[in-house]
Symmetry: C2
Subunit: 478 residues, 2 copies
């Protein structure tokens, strides 16, 4: 008989039918006469309750059925009395597939700290919390591909190893096959990268945007979805050294089109989660409530599912940076000197400012546009005022910046001038500038940090808990 | 008026309606009185024919409308006389968005060599061939996600930077932030990686499989789809230093289930291409015919679309390695000493042998199984004969190995013993072995090189022509 997935059994299993289920034991409890095994195979947050008539089975076998053990159960589906499910499985035969010594198996049926589970990231998929997180991560990734596919975008794999620093966006990881201890040197005594694998110095990409633009200015609309890297020594709950980014880039889109796309896109993903992941979301909502139950009322998060629905129901506020500065200057925390960082036209907004705008002032996601050019990248569209650029940052409650984007400067002369002002080597970037030399058009794009979206959708508080094997300073385990 | 994509105009555009089209000029031809502009916006291989009444437009404007220039055209759709399309666009107004100096623009309307276009990879998306290839690449990536999503698999992002060498699979790229010229040294005079970013020596992943198994043994079925790296100094038409791999991994699957999945999966992708990319496939089929027209009849490829349909119609042959050796030893080329490499039980089959089996003997895709254990990786399921392992390689015409996979050894003792025999450090791999310690189950998986699939589906001959920005020895441009 073919095995059925537990998700399928719980959804469509008919009482009276015989099935085979395979999975891992979450818990076993019961009395002298009857045992109840909660069996999970990863297909759903819900366990299948297996009912075992103790008399009919070998004692040694039942002793080995402990948390974490893998078993195959053949039996008859019966109406469930108390498992919270429609059906449960009356075991006729049980095969022990793999034991899990209770003295050694780390994932016992008790509350483990997230820190402990991070150290056991190879096994944390076997917990309710992390199986929910990673099923949702799959669903969000699929929603992203589905959305862009339906819109006629082409998925572009931009290079991971690159010789260019896209935005001067931060410190980079060097990629090399030269002898690490005694690298070959040039006559000037510098490392001779001409002898390296790629014949030049290379590093891990910080963004696929510039290559994405090359695709957009031919295929019309593209998106990337790939790993990006920052060698920043920041050990926070918001930063990773390796994370996944989605970067759509669109020919013929101006800043307004770009904002429309970003808002529609985020809402599509969130709607997809609500439509496809409700079981897992409900579990995580409950988890969040538990976790925050000792916090004072006013510091607790909004209910997870309410929060997602709230984003869907409201138009995002769209606001120039300059107006945001005015709002901040007129705010209570500013007047009471509660902000840690200064608020003046020209400064980059800090998390405290973004969160004030989103969570206190507007109580709604906000798209800030038209930032001062001096705090933004060289490629952004220069506005006529000479001071601002057509940037847009989408700010989300609890997260801050979830998307950063802009219209791109399509004018060769203006772009080159700005690059020179900012000491970006124009000669190395001949290929990027070629798109402005030949058939240049208005175009725009943005970047979404996938793990930021995951934090928002799952309600998890630490970015290391929404990626399978987090990479951070001093941490490359597994 | 909102711009319509050319794909939409050609499909649903009604004669008599007014539309705006934007795109890049592929060619302009015509007479003193009327110009015909072939306009393409990347949404389709087909161009929109724009008809320009020369008298109604400024001469200077028309002069600037050259190959590669970007324009926006407003006009009326009329029935097409000779463009091969249903409709063409009678231009009422034309905006020149971006020029393309014909003296400098590299992509002129003539046959460029693939080598030349590789050097201009930033612009080659603007050619028919490469726009077709990259639209198909998108479609294939989407088909892969769609397939696994429908089967209930979870997409898992396994780490790119890793401290482990999954299979001893080849030379690796080192990832580091240490001073390249004067790295810190330990007392023993070796590079002190404890001071490196991750606190240990790290490299770019060669495979996500081992981490994938961790996911499968909790979530049931997972797949990866991400970049992988080989620092091999091989400048061939089949190898890249950076390429994308798909690696499904499934709990409770034995070798037969694994073969069934691989065959169903490949057929799904190919069917998806036929259902969704026919225009592009037809163009590439024609391109292939052109390219091979000077070859002798018996060296020409099968028609591209026929080849794809052929794979769909036939069951893949499934054959033990041992029988394949017998077939090869009884073959004409073997007897006539035409094979370059030896054929003896225990050797790894070479491309010439694989191609003989697939293209001459069976004339069909072949899945070879049960390879000698000494030519396969440590983690493969040890067969009872003590000599072979439950490996499977899927061999395709023209490509050779397109998929490599196996059932995995789930027995802790056998696995550990094999690792020791092969000098794989078991202590470093504690996390991998934990899956065999706790709740171990029968499981299987395989890897598909995405670019290999792309070669097969597009009929392109060089792997550098099916990835946007190829990475190879001495080559990290763009």
């Amino acid at each position: 008989m073919a095995r059925l997935k537990i998700k399928e059994i719980l959804k469509n299993g008919e009482t009276g039918s015989e099935v085979v289920a395979k999975g891992w034991v979450r818990t076993k409890r019961g009395s002298k006469n009857v045992n109840f095994i909660a069996l999970n195979d990863g297909s759903t947050i819900h366990n299948l309750q297996v009912v075992v008539d103790v008399e009919s089975f070998d004692e040694a076998l039942l002793r080995d059925i402990t948390t974490g053990a893998a078993i195959a159960v053949t039996g008859e589906l019966v109406e469930s009395a108390g498992s919270g499910q429609n059906v449960e499985l009356n075991a006729k035969s049980i095969d022990l597939l793999g034991k899990a010594d209770p003295e050694k198996y780390p994932i016992q049926p008790k509350k483990h700290s997230l820190e402990f589970l991070r150290e056991n990231a190879h096994l944390r998929f076997r917990t309710n919390t992390f199986s929910a997180v990673f099923r949702i991560r799959h669903a969000m990734a699929f929603a992203i591909h589905k959305y862009f596919n339906e819109k006629g975008f082409n998925y572009l794999h931009t290079p991971i190893v690159t010789a260019s620093d896209a935005e001067g966006a931060g410190q980079m990881f060097r990629v090399s096959t030269l002898d690490a201890k005694n690298p070959p040197l040039t006559e000037e005594g510098e490392v001779d990268y001409s002898q390296d694998f790629f014949g030049k110095a290379t590093n891990l990409t910080v963004s696929g945007q510039l290559e994405g633009e090359l695709g957009a200015l031919a295929l019309g609309e593209i998106y990337t979805f790939g790993p990006t890297f920052r060698a920043e020594n920041s050990n926070t709950t918001r930063h990773l050294a390796e994370f996944w980014m989605i970067e759509p880039e669109m020919a013929f889109y101006d800043l307004k089109d770009n904002m429309d796309l970003a808002e529609e896109f985020l809402k599509y993903c969130i709607q997809y989660a609500l439509d496809n992941c409700m079981d897992d979301l409900q579990f995580l909502a409950q988890r969040l409530k538990e976790e925050e139950k000792n916090k004072p009322q006013d510091q607790r998060s909004m209910d997870l599912i309410e929060k997602l629905e709230f984003v869907l129901k409201n138009d995002f506020i769209r606001l120039p940076y300059t107006e945001a500065i005015d709002i901040l200057k007129n705010s209570k925390p500013y007047k009471k000197k509660k902000f840690q960082f200064p608020v003046d036209w020209g400064v980059d907004l800090q998390s405290e400012h973004e969160r004030y705008l989103v969570e206190k002032h507007f109580k709604c996601p906000v798209i800030l546009i038209d930032y001062p050019k001096d705090i933004k990248a060289f490629y952004m569209k220069q506005n006529d005022d000479g001071k601002t650029v057509g940037a847009m940052d989408v700010l989300f409650p609890g997260i801050g910046e979830i998307i950063g984007g802009s219209q791109r400067e399509e004018d060769l002369e203006k772009l080159t001038k700005r690059m020179e002002e900012m000491d970006i080597p124009t000669e190395e970037m001949w290929w990027y500038l070629d798109t402005r030399r030949f058939g240049s058009v208005v175009h725009s794009g943005f970047g979404l940090g996938f793990e930021r979206l995951m934090l928002f959708v799952t309600g998890m508080g630490n970015i290391r808990d929404v990626i399978a094997f987090p990479r951070a300073p001093k941490n490359a385990e597994f």
